[in-house]
């Protein structure tokens, strides 16, 4: 098995799975009917992408596991998503802040992944990029609405950005698998995305009259499987059915 490629795919896919699960949890709980459906649509887009990645990962693993096994039957430390996407839906400002901080990265990442030597990955990137462009448009618009809205919405949005900021730097960290894949022309060199990322993020935050947080301390660990306490709870929801009724189907 191509260990590095397998891990590399999981690293990409797990971000979308965990964020998709977070957004999906808002189904029926969104702040309005319209935003509720918007969040659910984003969740479904992400799950669609995830299936493509996991199907490919299952093909590479060649150990009889299916896409569902990969999604539902790993332990917490075998998920390689960044810490940012597992942060909870504290309030709508956090939901939007998390989505925005990830979308800007996601769009830059997929734009580069389109150039991958690996034809499957580049095809998935090309297919996903329109969806993610819309996600970024949606989340950026809400950042501006809430940031440049009422005093209360401004305060809540600023709090969310301040709290989530500490998870942004990890997006640009490289694992062993990342480095190996960059070498082979398959992976994206995320360190090169960092500059454009903060330019775009800062531009939107300024437009939203929000302050750009100043900190030199950043959290990391997700990419190596070391997560915040939130992931375990999320996984117990996500995995409950498969764990309780193994191999169940709809």
């Amino acid at each position: 098995m191509k260990e590095n490629l397998y891990k590399y795919i999981l690293g990409i896919a797990d971000n979308s799975l965990i964020l998709g699960q977070r957004m999906g949890a808002l189904t029926g709980h969104g702040p309005s009917l319209e935003t509720d459906i918007a969040c659910t649509n984003i969740s479904l887009d992400l799950f669609g992408q995830v299936r493509n990645y996991y199907q490919y990962a299952a093909k590479i693993a060649r150990d009889g596991r299916t896409e569902d096994d990969i999604a539902f039957l790993r332990k917490e430390r075998e998920y390689y998503n960044v810490l940012l996407v597992e942060q909870p839906n504290t309030d709508f400002a956090f939901t939007i802040g998390r989505q925005f901080l990830f979308d800007v990265y996601h769009l830059l990442f997929l734009t580069e992944l389109q150039k991958s030597n690996d034809l499957t990955l580049s095809a998935i990137a090309t297919k996903s990029i329109k969806e993610v462009s819309y996600h970024q448009r949606f989340s950026s618009d809400w950042i501006k609405r809430l940031g440049d809205g009422t005093e209360e919405s401004h305060q809540k949005m600023q709090t969310a950005i301040d709290d989530l900021w500490t998870y942004t730097d990890e997006l640009f960290h490289q694992t062993v698998a990342d480095k190996a894949m960059v070498q082979e022309g398959i992976g994206v060199d995320v360190t090169k995305l960092k500059k454009d990322y903060y330019i775009k993020v800062n531009e939107i935050l300024e437009e939203a009259t929000l302050k750009i947080p100043e900190t030199n301390y950043f959290q990391k660990g997700g990419k190596k499987g070391i997560h915040t306490e939130h992931l375990g709870y999320l996984l117990s929801d996500l995995q409950y059915m498969q764990r309780t009724y193994p191999n169940m189907e709809w």
């Binding site: 309005s32 009917l33 459906i37 949606f138 618009d141 609405r145």
Partner: protein, 95 residues
């Protein structure tokens, strides 16, 4: 809840090129941009459309149902106003 203050918008969707926009429903949004995005998410998520119009509901002037008699009933017995006496070529669709 702040959403109580969001105005109502009417949504019109063109389902494919060549067809007219049709009224699909309504939704709440703070302004026109949000109305368009909400319309996209609420009414075109199953591939229903290629174009969306939104208009704030207050800009629509509606006929009064109480006046239905004088407005519409006089047309009921004027069958000669229907162009049913022409043969339409098969190529003409959507009539």
């Amino acid at each position: 809840m702040a959403t109580k203050n969001w105005p109502l918008w009417e949504v019109f969707v063109r389902s494919k090129n060549g067809l007219e926009h049709r009224h699909f429903g309504s939704l709440h949004a703070a302004d026109a941009d949000m109305a368009l995005e909400n319309a996209r998410d609420v009414y075109t998520r199953r591939n229903e459309g290629v174009s969306i119009w939104v208009v704030e509901s207050k800009h629509i002037t509606a006929s009064n149902p109480e006046h239905n008699g004088e407005l519409f009933e006089p047309a009921q017995d004027k069958v000669y106003r229907h162009p049913t006496f022409y043969d339409l070529p098969d190529e003409v669709k959507h009539m």
